[in-house]
Amino acid sequence: MHDMEKRLILKIEGLRAKAGDKEILKGIDLSINEGEIHAVMGPNGAGKSTLSAVLAGKPQFEVTEGSVTFLGRNLLEMSPEERSWAGIFLSFQYPVEIPGVSITNFMKTAVNSRRKGKGLEPLKAAEFLKLMKEKMSFVQMKPEFAKREVNVGFSGGEKKRNEIFQMAMLDPVLSILDETDSGLDVDALRIVANGVNMLHTPEKAAIVITHYQRLLDYIVPDVVHVLKDGRIVKTAGKELVARIENEGYDSI
């Protein structure tokens, strides 16, 4: 094979981060090329969710050392909204409820904020609604969904489908899925995984953070990392998933 060189999407070097006085990430190195899906697995408390939050720019975490480059730009200098505009999307483990704000209004604000950030005019109402309809079908959401208040009264499955719907709307280059499988039954898991797979293209990349093998049966990773106590202790191919499932994290 004579591949063209792949574009580097994300490069993390020596990343250390803390919350309050507690250091959680203790030196992470990770590179992701376009077209790749990376799984980050690890026991509870390893720092998996912190890693995703730091990449998305959550203010409660302080980066103390290292660098993160996203499409050639210094990610750590960017606000959470700028990271979103640049093409990063975080699917939350616990999506936040916003009473009184409809999905439509929320997404219109999100889509048009990004367009504004890029110097574009707001999307016309008809175009926006067409986009909504198209992306809702991705995750099998009924039309009433658009009028519902963001995550209010949603089941676990609906919340995660809503995350993937938002991901489809925002069309990110790098998707970070933080424990997207938690709280999902098999049907919801399949819908969510299908959505993710349909959105994945050779120009994009994804980080799938999970504790269990389950989700990785549906979203097949190219590279698997094991995170333990704030460090990546092992990186291998997808065969590592089965080993973890059989032998547990202690064996690594």
Partner: protein, 239 residues
């Protein structure tokens, strides 16, 4: 004392706006939106009253109401949203008296305080000895948008009857950072996120206004005023 009586079986629906100044369209003026509350509201048997109060920035003063259930099976929905800023001094004093059995009252008040403003909420529910089967609820939630604003909330529940359902709750907080991060991660800038939070916060009260030009006026006034508040200080960011 000025007393407004809702006669037996009748329905009263009122929307009152304080501090709207001259911005308010004529048809809303004509609909009584600039009227003031009566000092006392009396609800007769099987009557129903819905009162929504909006206090916009720039208003200082006392807003008081005593609502009294004088006949059984009457129903009161009383709600308000207040936005205080600058040097505003607002005092809201709501008293609901359940004197007879089987009535229902539901109150929700939502307050935003910015600048050097001060808002005091006194909410008193009295359930008299014979007023069994009463249902009375009250909630007062407040958001502080600056370090120099002050809110004082004093809910009071006096129950002298058995077999009633009553509750009250009061909170004073700040704009939630988890919500903000969620919105920002979707590309919504901090000030827009804070605006959505404010609109979300007052939505239960705005939701009591029927759809139409009146609601549109209120929503755009509150949005515009909230934008001004957010621009005036870094009120969306809480450290």
């Amino acid at each position: 004392m000025e007393v407004l009586t809702v006669n037996r079986g009748c329905v009263l629906k009122r929307i009152l706006v304080y501090g709207a100044g001259n911005n308010i369209p004529d048809d809303l003026k004509n609909a009584g939106w600039l009227d003031v509350l009566p000092e006392k509201l009396v609800l007769e048997e099987d009557s129903h009253a819905e009162i929504s109060i909006f206090v916009l920035p720039g208003f200082s003063g006392n807003i008081r109401l005593t609502a009294e259930f004088a006949g059984e099976r009457a129903d009161l929905k009383l709600c308000g949203a207040y936005i205080c800023t600058g040097e505003d001094r607002l005092s809201l004093d709501m008293e609901v008296r359940h004197e007879v059995p089987g009535c229902h009252s539901d109150q929700i008040f939502k307050g935003l305080a910015a600048g050097h403003s001060r808002a005091d909420f006194f909410g008193r529910i009295i359930v008299a000895e014979n007023a069994f089967k009463t249902e009375a609820y009250q909630a007062n939630h407040n958001l502080l948008l600056s370090d120099t604003a002050k809110v004082d909330t004093k809910p009071q529940l006096e129950i002298y009857a058995d077999d009633v359902k009553c509750s009250h709750g009061a909170t004073i907080g700040r704009l939630d950072e988890e919500e903000q991060f969620y919105m920002r991660s979707r590309g919504i800038p901090l000030d827009e996120a804070a605006l959505l939070q404010i609109m979300s916060f007052v939505s239960p009260v705005i939701g009591t206004v029927p759809d139409g030009p009146g609601k549109d006026f209120l929503v755009s006034e509150i949005e515009q005023m909230s934008r001004n508040l957010l621009n005036a200080g870094k009120t969306g960011q809480v450290d």
